[in-house]
Point group: D2
Chain length 336, copies 4
Amino acid sequence: MAVRIGLIGLGMIGRDHLQRFQKVIVNAKVTAVCDINSTVANSIAQDTNAKPYTNATDLVNSPDVDAIFICSIGEVHKDQILASIAVGKPVFCEKPLTPTASEAQEIINAETQHGSRLLQLGFMRRFDPGYLALKEQIDSRALGETLLMHMAHRNPSMPGHFTQEKLINDSATHEIDIIRFLLDEDIVSVRIDKPRKQTPRVPGGFHDPLIVIFETSSGVRVDDELFVNCNYGYDIRCEVIGENNTAELNEQALISTRTANGAGARIAQSCMERFAVAYGREVQNFVDNVFNRRPMSGPSSWDGYVVAVVCDAGLRSLEDGQKHDVVLPERPGLYR
Amino acid sequence: MAVRIGLIGLGMIGRDHLQRFQKVIVNAKVTAVCDINSTVANSIAQDTNAKPYTNATDLVNSPDVDAIFICSIGEVHKDQILASIAVGKPVFCEKPLTPTASEAQEIINAETQHGSRLLQLGFMRRFDPGYLALKEQIDSRALGETLLMHMAHRNPSMPGHFTQEKLINDSATHEIDIIRFLLDEDIVSVRIDKPRKQTPRVPGGFHDPLIVIFETSSGVRVDDELFVNCNYGYDIRCEVIGENNTAELNEQALISTRTANGAGARIAQSCMERFAVAYGREVQNFVDNVFNRRPMSGPSSWDGYVVAVVCDAGLRSLEDGQKHDVVLPERPGLYR
Amino acid sequence: MAVRIGLIGLGMIGRDHLQRFQKVIVNAKVTAVCDINSTVANSIAQDTNAKPYTNATDLVNSPDVDAIFICSIGEVHKDQILASIAVGKPVFCEKPLTPTASEAQEIINAETQHGSRLLQLGFMRRFDPGYLALKEQIDSRALGETLLMHMAHRNPSMPGHFTQEKLINDSATHEIDIIRFLLDEDIVSVRIDKPRKQTPRVPGGFHDPLIVIFETSSGVRVDDELFVNCNYGYDIRCEVIGENNTAELNEQALISTRTANGAGARIAQSCMERFAVAYGREVQNFVDNVFNRRPMSGPSSWDGYVVAVVCDAGLRSLEDGQKHDVVLPERPGLYR
Amino acid sequence: MAVRIGLIGLGMIGRDHLQRFQKVIVNAKVTAVCDINSTVANSIAQDTNAKPYTNATDLVNSPDVDAIFICSIGEVHKDQILASIAVGKPVFCEKPLTPTASEAQEIINAETQHGSRLLQLGFMRRFDPGYLALKEQIDSRALGETLLMHMAHRNPSMPGHFTQEKLINDSATHEIDIIRFLLDEDIVSVRIDKPRKQTPRVPGGFHDPLIVIFETSSGVRVDDELFVNCNYGYDIRCEVIGENNTAELNEQALISTRTANGAGARIAQSCMERFAVAYGREVQNFVDNVFNRRPMSGPSSWDGYVVAVVCDAGLRSLEDGQKHDVVLPERPGLYR
């Protein structure tokens, strides 16, 4: 029997996942949808033969829902996740896990008390074939020990509601998680540099681009260029420099053209386009675990907590430009 | 309710599709499997909770099967397809449709009599994102009128049972179909040239590589290098030259490396690897049509027939090295 | 003492070489210039402190000229070369050597009688670092035996005076020579195919593009796309397919850009741009031989003769579309 | 008349330039050579028909020498340059100008007193076609205002005598100069980070790689990865990120291959290989100015002085890891 999904939050990413469930995900169907806006909830419920909810807890508790899929705003994640854990239902949560590390800690406590992993966090890059190919190079020591990584995270333009903090809490979180994933070690310090600022399309108080410099426990240094108004495209770069060799993500344009303007190829314009395969695979991974009654795998509550702690250090560096250490408690046994 | 698939033929491609149904296809499940080897049929049936068959007609007629998926050898395609059409069940058939044009004609007759398209033929390249991007360039006239195409179809090595004829009937069929698809016009002549022959890894009587030259009704000239013992990889090239601009398929390596051997990137080693996305999409297209009770779309019996006629001309040219015209009957209304 | 060059023919290529002598060529200076248009000759002579001539023979015979550099039209090459040989002066001649094979034969006879090579022919591609790198791959057998080559020769637009024959006699000559150079063997047949024709920017009677198919003595098959109105750039392609591996010329753009139009890189717009290094090296090779009183090296009168014979076969195929054999006399000892 | 060059210092780079004068430089010849090792000086003098010297001042003062070309070690540059300026002879000096800023100041004083530029400094990258193409993008504002640059400077292995300081004083000097050249502004601060250290092929006390972070007067932030034991090749990267678009140096491999190891292309193995064209053009620029009796152009004594001041700040940061400001005196009128 297909897994019955209750989808909470019907904004852009929620609708994108809804389509994914309809078109590319095996062994699952969305049977309940929830949005605080009842018009939205009813309209989408009708289109999809799902049951509409405006109260997330009601959806979580519904007997017609096997697993919860959270696409709401970060501020309400904690309550929705705790409600899911309370009834022992598997839950997928879009990143960030929670806006603060202390809220994430509450989730870890609840999940630990439950005794097995119930949550997969939406860091889709861990499912991107390109990053996985890089990880294979690193894990096999084909490059020698990793010494450095250069990363860039560029968006053509930022959403209207974007804030300075979100450059860390929202954009950089992807690199924070993928650095830990690629290297299998923790980040021990963060420092943020402010280069010359983009002015034409950015409000006065906002500083874009930023350079975030991470150090990991073995001393690997990673620089991450965050540039969310780069104009030209959604461009994700990652170069890994080992003692002997290097490896980097390739462009993935399908075709190249030759015109009077020169040789050319398309650049992705959004994360949906760039990471379409990764989104599909992360959701299928969640469904497969539920379908086969296995504990959740992939990015965990602990990963969400650690990212929140690293972000806190980053936000302090955003203030004073200094290097800030990242101090983590011992990793609970559930997440080893 | 998921579409119940009866899968006929459990060789390499049959098993590959079986895995696809289990892992990436939405709204379908394989409920019956058939192989002339009963041990194979029983073993796979047991692993997949499907019902085993050794007689294809029995599977076709089973009330537990909504749609037929044919992965058997070409020689038995006709009977299996006609049986499916006789009971009005949708059928997916791996290419080639049939070994001869006259058999294909019988299928066209039966499907025409049925009155709507029941068959999708397994030319997966029509679902490859790269070819679709090329087609968009052609259809939009972004290149100007198309004048030429250069193609190559390279395999690292050929299967043990490969014959000279299969270089046309098996390998070239992909290009024959995709040329017609890309240009929306028919091929009017074929000529085969024999370059210097690969010797180290090829039996004496076998000539590899070949160059096949096609002309289409508007005069577009296409050269297709067939080289099934190229050693280094599975490499598919397509460059479209228009009056003003050109477009070509890109390499799709995920990462690039830099080592003491130079800059490097992986080359695909098989059609399964190169066309993984296309295979998934062609099968999903078939399932979506069955699920939604729509007539079949994608490559048709007519396309299979036309490819067989073009291959016949190719085989004659393989004999005498001359250009042979392709003469087609009028396209039946069902396939317009 | 610098070699004193007498430059005959002050059209586009003549002036281009004149600049080359002034800026990049070592151990030579142009001391005499000749053009049938006396105004041109006088004006350029004045700018360069050279002596002006309108009669080529006078320039050839001048005691102030050590070596002759011919950039005049092909129709007058024979007389100018024979005059140079008569006085034993080294001569560089832009390709084609002569419009007909029989004229080329006269030059061979004169040079043979002289007893050592006095002439270098202007097939600059032999000095292009890219082609030389391909030749290294071929000669070292790094690819295995060569089986096939795919070539393209594209110009953005053709000169006003271009004729159908010049697509062979002028454009294809470069590939004819470089095929022989790369493979170290002769071409034994030629066939020309006419694809769909470019119409927007080409006069009615002119057929562009053409595909020329060459076979060499060992059976290597080479297709050469000639497209002199391709609109987008000057684009030279060469892919060599061996039994085990392939090698091809790379794009040589200096930088790549990323803009809202996508990823991009410049395409060369003329042979002067694409082959700037090759032109410099061929001329320096000529000067070095003269300076060091060595016999001439590089493309020879014999190479010019052979290209003319291959072109004759090509012109016959342009008429009837059939394959025409290339029949060559024995290679004279001087050119072995 | 060709410029008569006196070449001082016959080590690796001196001999490389000597060959350049013989093979690719127009309007110059080396008439005198000097080395403290008389055997070397005599032997090379004999091979080249030049006059040997062991005392640099004697060579400088020789009436047979029009211009001085210094390839000796940095410690003796100052005296050799001052001697040249004293007799008013143009001088090309390999970088660095001098080991210390104060020595460079003496040269500036002497040249200023002389009243016109007599010196060109050997920062050859200013003559590299790739960097010049980047500069064109920057100067034309095609990218929008420049915000960031990412650079890397990788050598396969370091010379035996290399010291930690040379990573700044020798390697980073190239980037320091080219940043100023590309952006037409000065560097105002330097900071050095120490990533995880390469261990297999590096002596204990030596830290490689380093990351140097520069800020310019307008706030452009540049990170420069210095990695002189990277193993795989000589790899120079430069990406310029503007408000709207980016541009970066391309790989320049002549050909690409396809083998069982994948798609591949050569990576340069030394600065001589990577910057062959740039070396030729910088020397020709020097010779052209001397030949035409023009003041020197290209990188100046002032540029050498500024680089030394920036290096001093870098060396302080190498000690303490802090950001150090670069304080420059007013630029003398001669160098504006």
